[in-house]
Symmetry: C2
Subunit: 241 residues, 2 copies
């Protein structure tokens, strides 16, 4: 569940699909990539389909080729916290005591590459540079998790939405058309709410508010134009000004 610094070019096929995946690109040479390729296989997921559930045995690791996934944990009564989203190029290999710590589900149709965990670990053991890269990815994940703790523990609803947009801009890369910046929201309002520790109603209301203040524009339900990124950054950090 870690992500490479550079985004995967749209449509960039994954390692198992006979090309290199972002998570290892740059740290393995051609021969090693070829060897690793033989370990993987392609998985195609329909929207809404889960890959594994919290508590399942972690027998495989994955990289995302295309599509978006959500990671979440549930409480006994069904309350849900989405702990992250996965985009193309992301790596999902982290587990504790061989058990998955969360459920992963596809938001839209997605393609993954999957490797048997033991063979992947073995392969990593033989490639220190890959192992170091995995560690680096884990530390970046951890830093992101800490920022999310600040968001969930201390930010207002408006600040949470602003932070969310800024993070998406950074992560999925700006989409610019005719000089306008857009972000795609492949997830539902409920998903956004469960990621930000809010209700879907509050998400809707805050969107309306940001729209009224001309900071964003709802191009379509799932496509948002960023009208004032600078102001959003300030908001995200709690700068009242």
């Amino acid at each position: 569940m870690t992500r490479h610094a550079t985004p995967l070019p749209a449509g960039h096929p994954c390692l198992a699909c006979d090309v290199r995946t972002i998570a290892v690109c740059g740290v393995l040479d051609c021969g090693d990539l070829a060897r690793m390729r033989t370990l993987g296989r392609t998985m195609r997921l329909k929207a809404g389909q889960p890959i594994f559930h919290e508590g399942d045995q972690a027998t495989r690791v994955f990289t995302v080729t295309s599509g978006t996934l959500k990671l979440y944990k549930l409480l006994a009564d069904g309350r849900r916290q989405i702990t992250g989203f996965m985009f193309p190029g992301d790596f999902m290999g982290i587990s504790v005591d061989d058990e998955h710590a969360f459920t992963v589900e596809a938001l839209d149709d997605a393609i993954l590459c999957s490797f048997p965990r033991n063979r992947f670990d073995e392969f990593a053991g033989e490639h220190p540079q890959l192992e170091r890269e995995l560690y680096r990815l884990a530390t970046h994940e951890l830093a992101a998790a800490q920022r999310q703790m600040v968001l969930l523990g201390r930010k207002t609803a408006v600040e949470r939405l602003a932070s969310f947009f800024i993070t998406l801009l950074d992560r999925t890369g700006k989409m610019v058309e005719d000089g306008r910046e857009y972000i795609d929201l492949p997830m539902s309002r409920s998903d956004v709410a469960d990621y930000l520790g809010l209700t879907k109603e509050t998400v809707s209301r805050v969107l309306a508010l940001l729209k009224d203040q001309r900071l964003i524009r709802l191009d379509t339900l799932n496509r948002i134009e960023i009208l004032d990124g600078g102001r959003l950054v300030d908001m995200a950090e709690g700068v009242t000004d």
Copy 2:
């Protein structure tokens, strides 16, 4: 900022103090430990003293020998989120792009062992089993961070306090005296609040509530007796029953 599975025996001296530290004990042999020892030096901290601040250059890594530390991030207007506490045996070496992602401050008088980051990394590079252990620790940290996201995003004040006590029981090990279980709270009510995404007043009120329900007893302000651990575990997970 990761923690070994087994707790450090009280008073167990650290690597730099001529003995082994928890973070590496079990993965290094005597000769390697001796070499690592030569890299470290001991640091003594007074209560309230910071080790480094968010954004500082990360030139050293640390292990905790004795005492307790808090890790936190601030928003522009001073709102604070404590992202974790460090106890004896814990390792603080994770940073992103050589910058510390949070501030670390001693809660009480503490002793640390500190290593120059570059020498430590170099040493780790020569000891794959140490590198693997650091990765394992990071993944455990990440799982803990995700549990904290559930707490901050979806749990009620009562559930947060119950979760906090259960986590402390697991982490610092049960202290049993005369067949009674205790936990120490080396941090202030404000610190607890900033860790759980609440205010100090709410923390006080919830403590009073749990006390009234005979789930805990305040032995002293900073020492809590667990009267009904089972019930607390249920509460922590949102089991209403």
